[in-house]
């Protein structure tokens, strides 16, 4: 529908979450990552010859602990893509539980859809594993622990490209 609007349409989660937690008495706002420079790696061969992998923020086990109370232990993991997972754990993650649900794994980790693209020849193959990286509000832990481990798994599985979907 064509309209004129005096505001931007998409939700700013940086603004929304800052105001929400301020209303709960948290006056020092979370600081989000911001970078001026962005690395870029071009695809090195035709997509039809590439092995493509997937990364999700969902867990394969329930998170250990309660949100906001003490440390919430989430697992960094690699899991088989075949057979595809029928369910992953998302209750501890930040998403809109009033508006939607995550009962269909492919709505946030398109493991079956990617396999279909491999079967049709659009990509060379889908990775035999997908990877789970917990949402960690510590930039340092993400950069020092999670990101290098995901890279190592990508290399073990011979991936040429990766799709990362955050809930």
């Amino acid at each position: 529908m064509d309209q004129h609007r005096p505001y931007r349409s998409f939700v700013s989660y940086i603004d929304r979450s800052r105001e929400y937690y301020a209303a709960q008495g948290y006056l020092r706002p979370y600081t989000w990552a911001h970078h001026d420079d962005v690395p870029f790696a071009p695809l090195q061969k035709p997509l039809s010859e590439c092995r493509v992998g997937l990364v999700t923020t969902a867990g394969r086990t329930p998170a250990d602990g309660a949100i906001g109370i003490g440390p919430l232990k989430r697992e960094l993991y690699a899991a088989p893509a075949d057979p595809p997972p029928l369910h992953l754990f998302t209750d501890d993650l930040f998403w809109d539980k009033q508006a939607t649900h995550t009962d269909d794994v492919d709505s946030f980790l398109p493991v079956n859809r990617l396999a279909e693209y491999a079967a049709s020849g659009r990509i060379g193959s889908a990775s035999p594993r997908f990877y789970g990286v917990p949402t960690d509000y510590s930039h340092g832990r993400t950069l020092q622990r999670s990101a290098p481990q995901i890279l190592e798994w990508c290399r073990e599985d011979g991936l040429d490209a990766v799709l990362l979907a955050a809930l």
Binding site: S9, V11, Y13, I14, D15, R16, Y20, A23, Q24, G25, W32, A33, H34, H35, D36, D37, V38, P39, F40, A41, P42, L43, L47, T57, G68, I69, T90, W95, D96, K97, Q98, A99, T100, T102, D104, D106, S107, F108, P110, R113, L114, E116, Y117, R122, V133, H139, L143, S146, A147, P148, I150, L151, C154, A161, V162, L163, L164, A165, A166, L167
Partner: protein, 118 residues
């Protein structure tokens, strides 16, 4: 997730971030971003809508193939059934301000109990 994508790109692995939180991903800065303007939770398409999911993953693959510079954002053409979620999510207004303040106090009390082993 955007930080992981940046690390992979820096080590020569091309990536596409698929997501619904446009400002968070774009502030961080990633090579390729496929944005779907849905409530958080279904960045790869509505649950049980196989055709939509195929289209979104297909667009992610196109982006892998065709982007020629970083910070390339493509928005998928899909819309949620209604826009009610936009204002409802994490809403703060006079109707819930006191309840949110109480919830914050309760959470801090439980955190303090946790720290003291209570």
């Amino acid at each position: 997730m955007s930080l992981v994508a940046r690390h992979l790109e820096g080590q020569g692995v091309p990536t596409v971030v698929m997501g619904c939180a446009r400002d968070i991903v774009e502030e961080c800065g990633v090579a390729r971003f496929l944005f779907t303007d849905f409530p958080l939770g279904n960045p790869c398409g509505k649950p049980r809508d196989t055709q939509m999911q195929l289209s979104i993953v297909g667009n992610a693959l196109n982006l892998l193939d065709r982007a020629w510079m970083p910070r390339t954002t493509v928005q998928t053409p899909f819309h949620w059934d209604s826009d009610a979620w936009r204002d409802a999510f994490m809403r703060v207004d006079d109707g819930n301000r006191e309840a949110l303040a109480r919830a914050g106090e309760e959470r801090r009390r439980r955190q303090a109990e946790f720290r003291t082993g209570g």
